[in-house]
Symmetry: C2
Subunit: 469 residues, 2 copies
C-alpha cells in the first residue's frame, strides 16, 4: 500500500464533517442514533441532519446534502434501499469522500431487485468517486476522531486493537464487551455486504496503521477469496491477525446467505486459509477478544512449563487438571525456590508444590515481591499463572473495596517485576463491580487477565503457535 | 435414612445457639469472621465468642464453652490443630450437637503428627457424641437458619440447590457466583477432610430434604468409595445429582493430596462412577451451576430440534454453527409458521429461516406474544433458544434501563406461554449491572438464562442424558 492509498483510507476515518441522511425524531430512528453516537464520541466537526422538509431539534438540518454550505466528508445513509443510489449520486456531486450505508434490502435479500440495486449503487459510487462501507452495515468506529457504530456505544478507551466485521451486531458487541473489560479498539469497521471497501482494502491499511497492534476479523464469507487470502497473508506478516469465522457449518452457511449474501465455504477451507495466511484462529467472540488482548499485552512464553499460584486449594486442584488437559506442563519448584519461599509460605493450608498455595498468606501483601521474585528466579518455569478467586479480594465485608484495591496494587507491583510472562485468572464470583474495576486496573497495567483458567490457557496456547488454527 | 437419622442431621442445620472458639479482634481472624457471617445471615439465636482471657467487643464472650449458661448446639473451631481435640472433648461435655473445624494441619498435612491429631479428634468426637464437619473446611451455609461459610458471604436468596464440597474455596465461590446470577443454594457444606460427616451421610439427608431440588457435589477424592457409590446412586434416584471432580489428572491428583489428603483415582474411574450412579457430570464450576440451574427450572426437551430466535444476523450465523457442532438439529420453520409470522417479520434484515432473525422488529414488543405463539404451534421443534445480545437491550442511551426493563417484561410474558422448553442466551457486552439485573429477573421468572450459547447447549445436552457423563 503506497502513501497515497494509505492517506486516502485514513481520511475516511478522520472526516472534517459528517451528515446523516434518513433521519427522524423517533427515538428508534437509526439516522438520529448515528448522529447522537458521533456527538457522544466527541466528534469535533460539524454534524448535519439531512431532511427534505423538517428542521430537527438537536442537529443543524439541511434539506439536501448540496444545500450544506461547507464540505461534507462522510455521509451515513439509513434510507430505504431503493432511495440509496440516488443519495450516493448526490454524494458524488457534493464531493463526499465516503458513505456508510445502514440500509438493507440489497444483495443479501436474495432477490434480483436487491442485486440490481446494489449494482446501481456501486456504479453511482464509482462515477462520483465515493468510497462505500456496506450496505447492510453499522459503519465505522474510531474513538480518536469521534466516529461510532451506533448512538449508545460506550465511550471506551482508545486502544490498540482493530476490527473488521461483516456483522454489525458482532462489531458492536465486540467493541462493547472489550470496553467493559477495559480493552480498547482504536478502529472497527462493520462492512456488511462489502460492495466496495472490505478486508482486501482495509487489511493493508490497518497493517500499516501505527496505532494498531492486533487486527481482529469476523468474517462470514467472501466474493473475493484470492484478494482476501493475499491481504490476510500480507497483514499477518506485519502484526497478529485473529480470524473468527461465522457460518462454518452447512446450516450456519445457509444462515449467512440471508445475512450478508456472501459466498461461504466449509469450516475446513477457512481453517486452511487461516493456517496458510499465518493468522490466529478464534472459536468464538470471547476467544477473539481474549486472544487479541493477550497479543497486545504479552509475548508468548518460550515453553509450556507453567508455575501456578493459588489462594484456594480447590481451585488449585481444578486448575492443575485444566493445565494438564490443555497440554501444558507443571514441573515442581526448584529446591532453591522452595527454600526461599519456606519462611513465607509454611503455615497450615499453604503448599510449596506446584500449584503454590498461598492460602491465608495471601493476606500478607508485604511478602508478594519476595515470593514472586523467588519464583521468577526458578529455572523450571516458562510462565506463571496467578489464580485469584474474587471472594478473596472481597473478604472483609464492607472494607472489601479499599482492602482489595490495596491487595491488587501490591499484586500488580510484584507481577510487573517478573520477567517471564505472567497471566491472571480472575474467577468470577460475587461483587461484579469490584471485579470489573480490578480487571480494568490489571489491563491498564498491561497484565493480561481472564475470567476462567480455561480461557487463559486457550489464549496462551494459540499465541504460542507460529500460525494457524 | 430413617426419621431419626434425618432429624438428627437436620438439627445440625438448625442450631438454637452457636459459638466460635479461636476468636480475636484482628480483622483477618477467622473465628470472628464466622460470627460476623452468622449475624449477617440473620441467625436468630445467641452467638457466643469463647476467649479464655479477653472480652470481645461485638459478641457476648465467655472464657470457656462450659461457662456459657444456656445450651450451645453448634461450635465453630479455628484454633491451631493441636488444641482442637481438647476443645472437641469440651464440646462433648457441654452437649454440643456438631462442630465445624476450620483449622488445618491434620491428615492433609501428610505428616504422622497430623494424622494422629485427626484420629484423636475423631475419638474425642465419638466419645462425646459430637458430629464433626471438617477439619480443614468452611462449614455450613444455610440461609434459612442463618449459617454462613464466612463473614463476607453475600446474603443470597434462599434457593433450591444444595452443595457438598470438599473444598471451602469452591463452596464459597459456587454459592457467591450463583447468588450473583440470582440462583440460590438452600444448603451448602464445605466438608474438608471428612473425618466424620461427608457425602455418604449428607447425600441421603439432602435427597430427602423437601427444599432441595438439585444436589451439587464437588469432590476431590474419598476414603470410602463403596459408601460414596451407594449414597450417590440412592440420591440420584430421587433428584438430579451433578458431580464435579477435582484432581482428575495425575498432576491434579498430586495437588489433592496436599489439599485434603483424600485418595483420588483417575478421571475415568470417576466418570464411570458418575455414569453407574446416574449422576450428571460437570467439567467446571460454571458448568456445575449452569446445569444445576437448568435442572431446577426446566425439564429436558423431548428431542434435539431447536428453533432459534435472534436479533442480530451475525450472532445467528454463529449460534447456528455452535448448535450443529453440539449435535443439535435446526429444522426449517413449518409453512404455516412462516405464513403466520410473515406480517410481523418481513422487513429488510429479518429472516423467516431458522434462526428467525427479528432484526429491528425486536423493537416492537407488542408482537412478541403473536410471534412466540406461532413458533410454539410449529411441530418442527422440541425447544427454543432466544439469543439476546445485551447491546439491543441497552439501546437508546440513557433510556436504556427503563426501556430494556419494558422489553424484558414483554419477552418474559411471551416466553412463559411457550409450552416446550425455552432457553435464553444473554450474551455479555457492556453495562453489566443491567445485564445482571435482567438475568436475575429471568431466573426469578423461572426461565433458564446463560451467558453464552455454548454453555446453554452443553447444559441442555447434559440434562437430556438419562444419566452419566
Amino acid at each position: 500500500m503506497d502513501d497515497r492509498q494509505y492517506e486516502g483510507l485514513d481520511a475516511i476515518f478522520h472526516p472534517r464533517s459528517m451528515a446523516a441522511v434518513g433521519v427522524a425524531e423517533r427515538v428508534e430512528n437509526m439516522g438520529m442514533s448515528f448522529l447522537r453516537g458521533y456527538r457522544k464520541m466527541g466528534f469535533k466537526g460539524p454534524l448535519y441532519a439531512i431532511h427534505p422538509q423538517k428542521k430537527l431539534a438537536k442537529f443543524e438540518t439541511f434539506s439536501s446534502l448540496e444545500a450544506v454550505p461547507g464540505p461534507v466528508d462522510f455521509v451515513q445513509i439509513s434510507l430505504p434501499a431503493r432511495l440509496v443510489p440516488g443519495v450516493v449520486r448526490e454524494c458524488g456531486r457534493k464531493g463526499v469522500r465516503a458513505v456508510s450505508i445502514f440500509s438493507s434490502g440489497f444483495r443479501e435479500s436474495g432477490t434480483a431487485e436487491g442485486e440490481a440495486l446494489e449494482e446501481e449503487l456501486v456504479r453511482a459510487a464509482r462515477e462520483g468517486g465515493v468510497r462505500v462501507i456496506g450496505p447492510n452495515c453499522m459503519g465505522i468506529y474510531c474513538p480518536e476522531s469521534g466516529m461510532s457504530l451506533r448512538g449508545d456505544m460506550t465511550v471506551a478507551p482508545d486502544g490498540e486493537l482493530a476490527l473488521l466485521s461483516q456483522s454489525g451486531g458482532i462489531a458492536i458487541s465486540a467493541v462493547m464487551a472489550a470496553a467493559e473489560r477495559g480493552i480498547g479498539f482504536c478502529k472497527a469497521v462493520s462492512y456488511g455486504n462489502e460492495c466496495d471497501l472490505g478486508p482486501p482494502e482495509l487489511l493493508p491499511y490497518l497493517a500499516r496503521d501505527p496505532k494498531v497492534r492486533v487486527i481482529c476479523l469476523y468474517i462470514e464469507g467472501t466474493r473475493r477469496p484470492e484478494e482476501l487470502r493475499s491481504a490476510l497473508t500480507a497483514a499477518a506478516a506485519q502484526k497478529p491477525v485473529v480470524l473468527l469465522k461465522g457460518g462454518a457449518t452447512a446450516a450456519g452457511s445457509r444462515a449467512v446467505s440471508s445475512h450478508t449474501g456472501a459466498l461461504t465455504g466449509t469450516g475446513e477451507v477457512w481453517r486452511a486459509l487461516a493456517r496458510q495466511a499465518g493468522c490466529s484462529w478464534a472459536e468464538d467472540l470471547d476467544e477473539l477478544i481474549d486472544l487479541a488482548m493477550l497479543y497486545s499485552l504479552s509475548a508468548p512464553p518460550a515453553g509450556k512449563r507453567l508455575g501456578l499460584l493459588t489462594i484456594s486449594g480447590g481451585f488449585g486442584v481444578f486448575a492443575t487438571d485444566q493445565v494438564i488437559r490443555a497440554g501444558f506442563e507443571m514441573p515442581p519448584l526448584a529446591a532453591e525456590t522452595r527454600e526461599a519461599l519456606a519462611p513465607y509460605l509454611s503455615a497450615p493450608g499453604t503448599s510449596l508444590a506446584n500449584p503454590v498455595d498461598m492460602a491465608a498468606k495471601f493476606f500478607q501483601p508485604q511478602n508478594y515481591e519476595t515470593i514472586f521474585g523467588a519464583l521468577d528466579r526458578d529455572p523450571n518455569f516458562d510462565a506463571y499463572l496467578m489464580i485469584v478467586a474474587m471472594e478473596y479480594m472481597t473478604y472483609l465485608g464492607k472494607n472489601a473495596k479499599p482492602w482489595s484495591e490495596f491487595v491488587l496494587k501490591a499484586l500488580i507491583a510484584a507481577m510487573k517485576k517478573i520477567r517471564r510472562p505472567i497471566y491472571v485468572a480472575f474467577l468470577h464470583t460475587a461483587v461484579d463491580d469490584i471485579r470489573l474495576a480490578h480487571e480494568r486496573t490489571l489491563i491498564a497495567s498491561r497484565l493480561p487477565v481472564f475470567p476462567t483458567v480455561a480461557r487463559c490457557l486457550t489464549a496462551i496456547e494459540r499465541t504460542m503457535r507460529l500460525s494457524g488454527p
